[in-house]
Symmetry: C2
Subunit: 371 residues, 2 copies
């Protein structure tokens, strides 16, 4: 997809321009504040840009749009406004990940150190007083707060420039719902990990599904699609069609993520292999695996799952147990069914045909995670 | 001020209504998420409402407005819109304090436990697995994120309902600048505490002043005034007059806060006595005190200042040293001069006379901290 690569370049350019504005804005506060901008720049250089891409396709499903070679900042230009909304989603996502990595105590992200580790290292290298780790947490909390604000600024300015006030309100409503759902979803996720035991199977599956839907599936695909579509002035029918497509694609995307969280290669995921196992994530994959195990094996499994000090050989043991339970095949089937469900429905929808073709292609890439 | 008490009641009522909406909105995510709303409700029951009051006076300086006995939610009603903006400032402030208490490791706030301590206790009481303190941090990060989003929603919806688009843009611009400045200011504040030593006197005074201005003075008074005024469609002259008034009032307010941080009674501040001393805050008060001390006493001072395990008798010693240095008198004089500077200028400004009278009264209360 040449278009996708070109778009990723435009998004990266716009991210750089917007961060440069923020750098100038905080200049009066002196050079001590610049590590915040430097770390934002580093963090925002990576990433799959999945949300930005879905937002652009959401827009193009409703209204034709071509990006030129260059898209200068200009609120009267629809392409520039859409680019800002796509960047808003990337800023918001960066903020959510930076905070999530504190919450999940993740050391790595996108193949580099997590943001709280970067600030920890700044402290340690400078030999300051106080605790490097605590400074790391503080820096990451505050940078996440800044990025949330900056996301919001971009969304505001794009919406503000719209003639169509109803479209502006709809865009904001989707953005607002997304923000609340993802923060509440993250809270439920961390809560789940604190429970001493797994719930009975049916209840656990229901809980794991709810987490998957709110923390990730809606957030990764449905919300960006609807935000892009609303910006273009989507009709209720168009929004419904995109939601019906987006949710199963998001489910497939997160199920793939769950597989990668257990079996993924660090080079692809940017996280250590088996990260979800040491974090004790109660995913659908794990719930299905446990159900298949005889009682004695299940207690060994539960004892190892979620131990932060898990050694390589225990990780291998858990991986093997999950694979042999048949849960991996079940999850692969679920991914396939969700992609099929999504792509079948959308071909009949009242949406632009060329955008639909791109949506189907992107859905398949999201479900395979081939970025 | 009967008006102030009545307004505080209206703000509390609107906070309750807006939180009730959020409670309904997250209902589909199940009862596990409700502690987030419960804690938001508890936290937002206290507070001085200083920012909300300044926002209302900023508005009334520019355009007459009466609040009725009841102000139902209605975006077409200017009083309802202003109330939402005032609540947006209170939500944002709650979010900033909740995150700041993690950053500063504060145990108490507004006379009760800090939010991260509340989530720590929820974990401990439930006997969950994992670390109660870490769950506390996670819960507080996520609730702060939610409140930031909710603040922004209220600001958006009020601005969106304005006919005057330039006023809407100006209101947002002030809000955006405030958010960036306060987060960067907090970062600089925490950075300052990590430095092994105080800077040379002149430089330290400059650094401490910069922190005071960005982290607090502008945020507490100038920004809320300008946000309220912009919502009412203030002219550039009116904005300048309010900024010239707001900054010195904010400086006086924070200098008072610095005195209370060292000498304040827990019953008034809602924080333990001498909190700023155990946190090692490098305030103007502290910088001025150190400058007066002979070398030997200064090293004793520096050794004790910022020790988290400071005992009551060391706190008393530091308090006595600060008082005897004459710095308290100097700071009191600075407070007086700033209030005078603010109130002198504003009487000639192109602003509504009745609002100016209320502004002067509120400035004096802010500087004395008599709420």
């Amino acid at each position: 997809m040449q278009e996708t690569t070109r778009l990723a370049g435009l998004i990266q350019g716009r991210i750089a321009e917007r961060l440069a504005e923020h750098r100038s804005a905080i200049d009066p506060l002196g050079p001590d504040a610049l590590p915040l901008i430097d770390e934002a720049t580093r963090f925002l250089t990576g990433g799959k840009r999945l949300r930005a891409l879905f937002a652009v396709l959401g827009y193009r499903s409703v209204r034709p749009l071509q990006f030129g070679e260059q898209v200068p900042i200009d609120a009267s230009d629809p392409a520039s406004r859409l680019l800002d909304v796509a960047v808003a989603l990337e800023f918001f996502h960066a903020a959510a990940l930076i905070h999530d990595d504190i919450v999940d105590r993740s050391e790595t992200r996108r193949g580099g150190p997590a943001t709280h580790r970067v600030f920890t290292r700044i402290h340690r290298d400078a030999g300051w007083r106080g605790t490097p780790e605590h400074f790391g947490t503080a820096g990451a909390i505050l940078l996440g707060d800044l990025l949330q604000s900056w996301a919001d600024e971009l969304l505001q300015s794009s919406c503000d420039a719209l003639e169509d006030r109803a479209a502006a309100r709809a865009t904001r409503a989707h953005f607002n719902r997304m923000r609340t759902e993802v923060a509440v979803g993250q809270y439920l996720d961390v809560l789940e990990e604190q429970q001493a035991e797994f719930a009975p199977h049916e209840e656990q599956l229901e809980r794991s599904t709810r987490l998957l839907v709110y923390k990730s599936a809606k957030y990764s695909v449905e919300a960006p699609l609807l935000i892009g579509a609303a910006l273009a002035g989507a009709s209720p029918d168009q929004e419904s069609a995109l939601a019906e497509f987006g949710l199963p694609v998001g489910v497939a995307f997160q199920l793939r993520d769950d597989l990668l969280g257990v079996f993924g290669d660090e080079a692809i995921t940017g996280k250590p292999t088996g990260d979800d196992l040491t974090e004790g994530k109660r995913t659908i994959l794990v719930a299905l695996s446990r159900q298949e195990l005889p009682g004695s094996q299940r207690s060994v499994f539960d004892d190892l799952h979620g131990r932060a000090d898990l050694e390589a050989e225990s990780i291998t043991l858990l991986q093997q147990t999950i694979r042999e339970s048949g849960a991996v095949d079940q999850v692969e089937q679920m991914i396939g069914r969700n992609v099929e469900l999504a792509t079948k429905g959308i071909t009949e929808a009242p949406l632009a045909k060329d955008a639909v073709a791109d949506l189907v292609a992107l859905a398949e890439r999201a479900a395979r995670r081939s970025f």
